[in-house]
Symmetry: C2
Subunit: 415 residues, 2 copies
């Protein structure tokens, strides 16, 4: 095995039996194989070299700048921005033994891998937790809301939350309802390709998010690639964004609303947005965990629906079309409403608005006491109801769900 003294980030020249390669040494993790070293070549590709094949390694340039960032967490110029890590691809690394992706461990990983952050802001990085986003629960929403609010109320001009993309729109919705009177931006950002892949969107997304966090925005938003190229990122309102592709870098779309802006690492352009408020952020971090999001489908049985209702304090239905479900479900829904369990209707079409006055089924559902969800996304309605059940009197929930709180619905669309 070859002996080498180079460190991650160094620009090196590697000579193997097959040729000479030049690139930056990528960091090693506890799961990295000892006998493989990974280099990001100058063309952007990552290549693994077996140490057996390596004839020599020469350091071209030490990664001084990078390392100084690593050692000293709070530095950089410009406004103070708090960057929270939560796990997910944007903070993940590839286990080169298996090819699988794991969440990163420490907040320094961010500053280490994206030293350009220091050119935009004075970053205060903190790892809140490290879970893949499919494991984020309402408890994590609470933690994020509390910490984001605290940061904004103690001197940060903006907050960036690096989050796995799978459930990022649920979390962004959650903070949209939990944080009121925002005195700075709360910017969720993720990446669809981890930062050690050549096509990674992690760096551009993260830099764009931090740039936006220095703006006068007073909303919770999601910043992700706007297209497959690296032109710019879109700013999606947290309550309107949805992950609409499993793998594309431009997976996030604003549904039933336009993105509220564009952002690059260099600058941003916002329109139709709420400006940050004066005074402190008001924090309402509680969520009711016992809320179900269910899909209407042809074989759904009254028994299954009854069971789901019995285990929850509220239900959001992603109904068909304008907001329908089998008429045999109507008595079950009526019973739930009578028992003080709000039932909200949205549409699995995603685009468009429910309108429960057009067809007889819709009218019967309204008569049964269902709450029409307007043009809210099912996921957003689910988060909103979770918030409402923990913060609003039961008899006021119907009215609350019909009211636009954080850009999640167009009230005039309400039917």
């Amino acid at each position: 095995m070859i002996d080498y003294t180079e460190s991650s980030g160094d620009l090196v020249e590697i000579t193997t039996k097959k040729g000479v390669y030049r690139g930056r040494l990528l960091p090693r993790h506890m799961l990295s194989r000892d006998d493989i070293i990974i280099v990001k070549l100058e063309n952007g590709y990552n290549v693994g070299f077996s140490t057996e094949d390596i004839v020599s390694i020469k350091t071209i340039k030490k990664a001084e700048e990078v390392k100084s960032v690593k050692r000293e967490i709070r530095r950089g110029k410009g406004p103070k921005i708090t960057l929270f890590g939560t796990g997910g691809t944007i903070a993940s690394y590839v286990d080169y033994r298996t090819g699988a992706v794991h969440p990163a461990i420490s907040s320094e990983d961010f500053l280490f891998s994206v030293p350009e952050l220091a050119d935009i802001a004075d970053i205060d990085a903190e790892m809140l937790f490290s879970v893949l986003s499919e494991d984020i629960t309402p408890e994590h929403w609470k933690k994020m809301a509390l910490e984001a609010g605290k940061a904004l109320n103690s001197g940060s001009e903006g907050v960036v939350i690096a989050h796995g993309t799978d459930t990022m729109s649920y979390s962004a919705s959650a903070l949209s309802f939990a944080l009121r009177n925002l005195n700075g931006p709360v910017v969720f950002v993720g990446s669809q390709r981890s930062s050690d892949r050549p096509s990674s969107d992690a760096v551009m997304n993260l830099l764009s998010a931090v740039r936006l966090a220095t703006s006068d925005l007073g909303e919770v938003v999601i910043v992700m690639h706007a297209s497959s190229s690296d032109d710019y990122c879109h700013v999606h309102r947290g309550t309107r964004a949805r992950k609409m592709h499993t793998s594309r870098r431009d997976a996030f779309k604003s549904i039933n609303s336009d993105p509220i802006g564009k952002v690059t690492p260099e600058g941003y352009e916002l329109k139709n947005y709420r400006k940050k408020s004066e005074g402190d952020v008001e924090i309402f971090p509680e969520f009711e965990e016992k809320v179900a999001l269910i899909c209407a489908y042809p074989g759904l049985s009254a028994e299954t629906l009854e069971h789901i209702i019995s285990e929850n304090r509220g239900i959001v239905i992603a109904g068909t079309g304008l907001g329908h479900i089998k008429s045999s479900m109507i008595p079950v829904i009526k019973e739930a409403v009578k028992d003080g369990k709000p039932v909200v209707m949205t549409s699995q079409c995603l685009y468009g608005t429910v309108n429960m006055n057009v067809y007889s089924t819709g009218r019967s559902l309204l008569a049964a006491g269902i709450i029409p969800g307007g043009d809210m996304l099912p996921e957003t309605a689910y988060v909103k109801l979770s918030w409402a059940l923990a913060n609003i009197d039961l008899e006021e929930i119907g009215e609350f769900m019909r009211k636009n709180i954080a850009g999640e619905m167009e009230e005039r669309r309400f039917l």
Copy 2:
């Protein structure tokens, strides 16, 4: 009250105190108000006149042609096409007292309202049932499969099924699996605006569907408006179509696949399609009703998932991202698989394919025995599993779900 002898379809001139209007008398239904008559004006708008306001009604032209179609069901020239009604907007009418839409009653309503059908084909119309599509169940899929297969095996060159749009893609998927070796097209068609509304897409969709039913296509497809204008309709493969807007006329989109053609009342253009077979259609009309389609969401509890599993013979999960769900659900899923209940993973992103080898959660789910659903729509996977549980040996279901049967997945995408 004014006395008049004109009939539906007649071109009339109505003189009121406010002016003179010319248009076609719209049909009356049992729920129509006696003192209102509805006229489709020449600009396309429907206007209701109170009989009190009418000074005189003059018939300009009798609706002879229309009425003769109404009296004689089977006529028209060209190939024999069977048109099944099932209910839904395309066969619905507005109750002018309440403004609500109700399903039409008889198959003649079709031929009466769209006499141009007779120019395309020799139509044999039959009302299979009349329910709004949110009430369609697997039992209705069976009925449609049996009747469509029977029609094709007894001389019809094509079948058109007029269906409510809410669950039309579920039904089209169902027939895609139930009908094999198709010797003619099975064309689902719906409308987003009922035919007595000025912006109705009913007539163009229906005529286009019947036109396509005369083609050499051997697949189950959906024909609906391709755009908001009346240019042409798209031909969507039944297993790939999804209603993606609550109200737009071009609500249906092919997901993870292009439409396989364009069609107008005058002609069609197909590409990458399966041609009709020789011999009889093979009909496998059975479906297992006890299959659940569930959504992964942050508050989902193991108890709720266990309950849903206990009440069903199989589960399709619309997971997050590349095919994930909270890792606390993995033991529950493992247990279900052990108990002989197949669990299939799809993505709530809709676009893209699941890939369960990228992240640790995906790999654990595979180890637990979950079946990855590739780039299948969650709804299509749900219908496919319902079919599989009624027709395939349990031990072969995993392999069957991974195999492309009716264009529902790209096998090479299978990961």
